[in-house]
Structure formats: structure tokens, C-alpha cells
């Protein structure tokens, strides 16, 4: 056991810190309400991706021959940590860089690599992921969006849901059914779909937070060239699993810094508050709750470090990713609740700290559903880690 960073890792961090100091744009503070300001915000985020690309920081974990920086997994985690530390803008390209790109690198044709990888890193192509459907959530392989071969095109019809970045994406990694007669896992194919194709429509999906972070996508007779099949026809399930493995591995890292920032804000906030004539930080129940939130967050950090260290030795995201996902999603729910308990009735208001605590609490309810529900994660742990029989 040695948790100190190696000399080359420290050097990587220092180089990155220096670059970030000179290149991180001031935070976007205007509310993005109307179409015009939303467009401006999009351009701001796109410009940040371009800045990263020009500085050689786009696709840090990708191999060098595909335009990446080829860094180790530990350096990748340093990268995410440092970006979070300087409160760098959010990454428009998370789906593309974390999920689509690595999958194209793994199974794509030479022509696909030429066509897609560089524009993705430059921020010209923004990707979304068309996986879930209204009737295919946890049971993803039951999806029903159909693609029928017509000459050198597939014709796609169906509906997708819970698509992040659907409203800004110009490309979509879409899973469709190409062989309805085959068993459900064996008739699927992955397609790379141009979102400007005729017949693609999206509708924002308002969540219980009131925000529309996701979209519903509708495909009506959308024509996709055969050359845009990713991997083999009817082998799409394996391709989708490759993509999801990358998703789960990526979701773990960087999250800690986000949660830590929330906790630090809470800590700062409580130091300004009084209740019953004394600072609430003198209340032993408040102290218990603050300490509990802190220790839960810290145990998550240590679990992440340990998983990272394990991945760095084995070079693959394993089913242990499910333990981490289960931990952080439930922890964030516990801590969002604790924050509300500490802040009391005023804290839940949309007018208190711009509704930060209300939003965090509501948004956290999605954590145990997105990227595999807690129930699915427990099934995965039971079956793939503990070797218990398949139960569904």
C-alpha cells in the first residue's frame, strides 16, 4: 500500500495545472433560459472542447494513434480531479469521448475512425446515446426500435428515451433490432446516426426536478447508410456492452470532486446559520449529520481510489464498478437528504441558495435508476462477483 503519486504522475498533474491556469474560461453565469442564450452557452461549451483539443487534452485516455494522449488510468483520474478543482466548464463531449469514441476505436472500421474520431475530439461532433426505450430500461436487450435493410441503407423506426445531450447532439450511437426472429440479444445492431437525417425528432423530457436534462428521440423512416453500422450486424449487444462498460467506469471518476464541492458548500453555509439563538454548528445533532455526510463521502473517495488502483493493475473495468456505482448513488441520496435535514424548512426552497439543495435532493433520486438501477447492480454483484445463480 502506498497512496502517494509517482513522480511522473505528479509531473502530469503539474503540467496540467499550469495549462488549466492559463486556459480555463471564466464560469458561465448567465441563466440559459431563451433559445438565444442557450445557443450562446452551447458555443461556450463547444469552444472549451476546442481549447482542450488544441492544448492536447481532448481524449486524454485514448491511444496516441487515434489522437489521444495515451495517459494511464491514474492520470485520467488526476485529469478529472484537476478539471473539477478549477471548476472547469462541463464537458459537452462526455458521451462521445467516454463511450462512443472508445467503442469506435475498439470495433469501428478504418473509414469510421477517419470520419468520426477527430471531429469528436474537436467538439464538432457532439454525440448522444440511443439505448433506453420506454419499454426497454433495465431489460435493454428487449428494445424494439427496428432497422430494415433497403438497398445500401437501413430504414429506422422507433423511439428512444433518457437521451442526454439529445437536443445538442449531431450524432447518435443507436441500438436497433435488425433480426426480430432471433433471440433478443442476438438480433441487435449498433448504428452511427446523423441527427440531421430526415425523420429524426426530439422532445425534451422534463424530469421531476423541473429541468429537461434528457430527451425523447423519435425515428420515422430514418435512412442510415450501411457503412454506418458499428461492429457486425446482429452483434450489437456486445458492442453496446463495450460502450456501457466504458460508461460505468467513467461515471465513477470525477464524481467525487462534484460531491465534495457540494459538501464544502454545505459546510460553509452552516457556519453562517443560527437556530434557537446559537450557531447551528453547536447543535450536536447537526454535528452528527455533518460528520456522517463527510465520512460517507470519504469512504466513497477511498472506494474509488481502490477501484482505480485495481483497474490500473488489471487494465479493465470489472464488475467491481457495480459496487462503486451502488455506493455513490445511494450515498448521494443519503447526503442530499442530510443536507435538507440540516438546513431545515428554509433549505428546501427554490429561493434558498438558488435552489441548490432542493435540486440536489430531487436529482439524487435519479442516481439509483440511471446507468443501471441499484437492483440491477445488486444482481450483477451477486452473479458476477459472488457467483450466485442468475435470477431473472
Amino acid at each position: 500500500m502506498d497512496l502517494t503519486l509517482a513522480a511522473e504522475e505528479l509531473q502530469f498533474r503539474d503540467t496540467l495545472r499550469g495549462w488549466l491556469q492559463a486556459n480555463v474560461p471564466p464560469p458561465w453565469t448567465q441563466p440559459s433560459k431563451d433559445a438565444e442564450s442557450k445557443q450562446a452557452h452551447l458555443e461556450y461549451l463547444r469552444a472549451w472542447q476546442r481549447t482542450l483539443f488544441d492544448g492536447g487534452w481532448a481524449g486524454v485516455s485514448w491511444p496516441r494513434e487515434h489522437g489521444g494522449r495515451g495517459v494511464t488510468i491514474i492520470e485520467q483520474s488526476i485529469f478529472q480531479e484537476e478539471l473539477a478543482l478549477v471548476q472547469a466548464p462541463e464537458r459537452l463531449g462526455v458521451i462521445g469521448e467516454g463511450l462512443v469514441g472508445p467503442t469506435i476505436i475498439a470495433v469501428g472500421t478504418e473509414a469510421q475512425k477517419q470520419q468520426f474520431l477527430k471531429p469528436l475530439l474537436m467538439g464538432d461532433h457532439i454525440w448522444c446515446q440511443g439505448f433506453s426505450e420506454p419499454n426497454a430500461g433495465s431489460d435493454l436487450a428487449a428494445l424494439g426500435t427496428k432497422a430494415v435493410l433497403d438497398g445500401d441503407h437501413y430504414v429506422v423506426n422507433g423511439q428512444k428515451i433518457w437521451t442526454s445531450f439529445g437536443h445538442v447532439a449531431n450524432w447518435c450511437l443507436l441500438v436497433v433490432r435488425t433480426d426480430p426472429a432471433a433471440p433478443k440479444h442476438k438480433g441487435l445492431t449498433c448504428l452511427l446516426v446523423d441527427m440531421k437525417s430526415p425523420g429524426v425528432e426530439f422532445r425534451p423530457l422534463k424530469m421531476l426536478t423541473g429541468d429537461a436534462e434528457f430527451n425523447e428521440l423519435f425515428f420515422t423512416d430514418v435512412r442510415v447508410p450501411v457503412s454506418n453500422v458499428l461492429g457486425e450486424v446482429n452483434q450489437g449487444w456486445g458492442v453496446a456492452l463495450t460502450a456501457l462498460g466504458n460508461e460505468r467506469a467513467n461515471l465513477g471518476t470525477g464524481l467525487y470532486m462534484m460531491f465534495k464541492r457540494d459538501f464544502d458548500r454545505l459546510l460553509e453555509r452552516v457556519q453562517t446559520m443560527r437556530r434557537s439563538g446559537r450557531p447551528i454548528t453547536e447543535d450536536s445533532i447537526v454535528r452528527q449529520k455533518l460528520a456522517q455526510a463527510h465520512l460517507d463521502l470519504e469512504v466513497f473517495r477511498l472506494n474509488s481510489l481502490r477501484t482505480l488502483s485495481g483497474m490500473s493493475n488489471s487494465h479493465a473495468p470489472g464488475p467491481e464498478g457495480s459496487i462503486l456505482k451502488l455506493y455513490w448513488s445511494e450515498m448521494n441520496q443519503r447526503n442530499a437528504q442530510l443536507a435538507l435535514e440540516i438546513l431545515g424548512l428554509p433549505g428546501q426552497s427554490w429561493d434558498f441558495d438558488d435552489g441548490r439543495w432542493a435540486f440536489n435532493y430531487l436529482r439524487s433520486r435519479g442516481n439509483t435508476i440511471e446507468a443501471g438501477t441499484s437492483e440491477i447492480q445488486r444482481n450483477i454483484i451477486a452473479q458476477r462477483v459472488l457467483g450466485l445463480p442468475r435470477s431473472y
Binding site: M1, L295, G310, G387
Partner: protein
Amino acid sequence: MEFDLSKPQKLLRETAHATLAQTCPLSRVREMMASETTHDKSLWQTIADQGWIGLHLDENVGGLGLGLVELTVIAEEMGRACLPGPYLATTWAATLLAQLANSQSIALLQSITLGEHTATVALLDQDSDWDIEQVQLQLRSTQSGWQLTGRKTLVLDAEASDTILCVVRQGSELAIVLVSARGSGLSLKKTRSLDATRTLYDVEFDGVSIAEHDIVAVGSQAREALEHSMRVATLAACAEMLGAMQWIRETTLDYAKTRKQFDRTIGSYQAVQHQCADMLLMTESARAATYYAAWALSASAPDADKAVAIAKAYCSDVGREVAHRGVQVHGGIGFTWEHDIHLFFKRIKVCEFLFGDATWQREQIAKLILA
């Protein structure tokens, strides 16, 4: 960065596991827990011969010169074997003596690490908690020298110990004095602790004479040595809980894979699978917290104190939870005296309170993060 045991550390774990499986099977644990002191001198000698008593201490005091990660490895295996007797008490006492580093304590340490001598620490006064500032028991000056009259409570393995390191006040200063556990004026009253594999005693001092050279530390030296030794002992308690959790988790999983109801193994039902998944998550998270604390303490990381408090708070909470769920998945057989799970369940339960339970530790964390 490496968040895993090194090869020698893994070897140490394997050796400890194999040695304890052979010398201290659960049938032996049951025999020892039926004895008055739960202490078995021949088993103790085996442990001492391996160098595991004070293995984290310098070689010049008889230790192996290893670190706290290695101590954690050994203590985890002792928890996994549910080893009875004074290992935790002696580890605490030896760590405290090593901090004092005077000729008196070094001589004692050398015989402790050889297995010839055992020791414990008497800290708690009646009604005090783990805050050392609450110690009140006064060392009194009389015409015939220093004398001790009063009571210490819940002293680990006092009867199996040769020496008691007693935490007292000399005037307003904190002091540590060495008292022979078999000397005159001292009486022991055993408490029937929930964990029968480890004993707790009330120690009554009635005019016990203390020689000047047995006052081994006073004031800030006493406080700092005691604080450090308690961090190490707390870590060892976490490691024991971790080992016990590991035993429960593995045994429960094996049971879920073999026990049949409705013509299927109970481990094929999701309700049981999810219990097993949660037990793994909690045990592995406790492992991350405990080994991080060991590393932070040995590397003198700035957050070392907090890391120990976090490990203890977390292990106390999830250790209990893993134990409860283990009994639940076992069903009726898990509720019997015959099944071994209650030995580990009770070991965890008492460790939950030793050196401060989760609530007490959270207050320590609060002090650190609000400072």
C-alpha cells in the same frame, strides 16, 4: 499509487490465516471462551514466536520493525479467527510503552514481544467516556510514597495481564503508572461481557503503592503517548471487525449457495442475493476505510486522525449491519448457540463500543471538519 497489499503483506496474511486456522479453530475458540480468562498460554507463545506481538514496533524494543498496515493485516486475521485472549489489550499496551521509550518501558516491552509477559491499559473511570481528559483517578502522595485508591472500569483482559498501565492524575497532570496485576491492594471483578471470547474487568485499587520509577509518563508526554496508542488500538479494533465481517460474509455466501428451500438454493432468490451483495459492499468499503487509516497513520498523512475516526465510525455501523444480515440469511440455524456466527456477531458488537462507537467518533470528525 497502489491501494493493495504488497507481496510480503499478502504473504503475511496467508501465513497468519493458515497458522490461526491450524492452532485456533473455532472448536478451540469455544474451549477458550469457557475458561476464566480466555487466555491460552501455549497459543500465545505460538503468536509471539511468529513475531506478531508488537510487530509494528522497532526492532530495538523487540518488534519486527514492520508498519501499521502489517499490524492491520494480522489484527484482521485474528478477527477472522475470532481469536480469544489479550491480543488487542497487549497491542494497545505495547504501543503505549513504545511511545515512552524509557529503560523501564523498554525492558517490559522486550518481554512482552517475546510472549513472556502480557499487559493491558486501564483508562476508563466510572462514568467517563473515551476522552482521556475525563480521567480523574488521583495518584495520592502519602508519607510512605505514592498510592492509588479508586476504580477503573471495563479494563480489557486484566486477569490475563501481568501488568496494568493505569491512566491517572498526578495533581492536575495526566500520568501513566505501571501496576502489577497481581500485587496487593488490587482486586479484579469480571464483567460478563456480551463477547465471551474477550474479558472485561473492573479494577479496584485499595491503597496500592506505586514506586516513583513506575510513574512512566506525566503531562504532555503521557497524553501524546496515550493518544497515539489509542489511534493504533482503534485501528486494530477496526481490523478485527473487518476480519469478523469477512468471516460472516463468506460463511453466509457459502450457506446461501448450499441451503435449499422450495427445491432451490436460497442464493438463487434475489431477496437473498441482494443481502449478500450489500454485505460485500459494506465489508469492502470497511476494508478501504481501515487500510487507508493504517496507511495514513503510518505515513503521518495530515488527515490521519480523521481517517482513524472515519474507519471506526464506519466499521462500527456496517460491522453491526453485516452481522445482522448474516444471521438473517442463515435463518433459524443462525440464531442457535451451536452455529459459530454468534461468536463473530458478538465480537463485532463489543468492538463497536470499544474506543468510541460511531456516534462518539462522528463527534471527533465534526471537531476536525468544523475547526
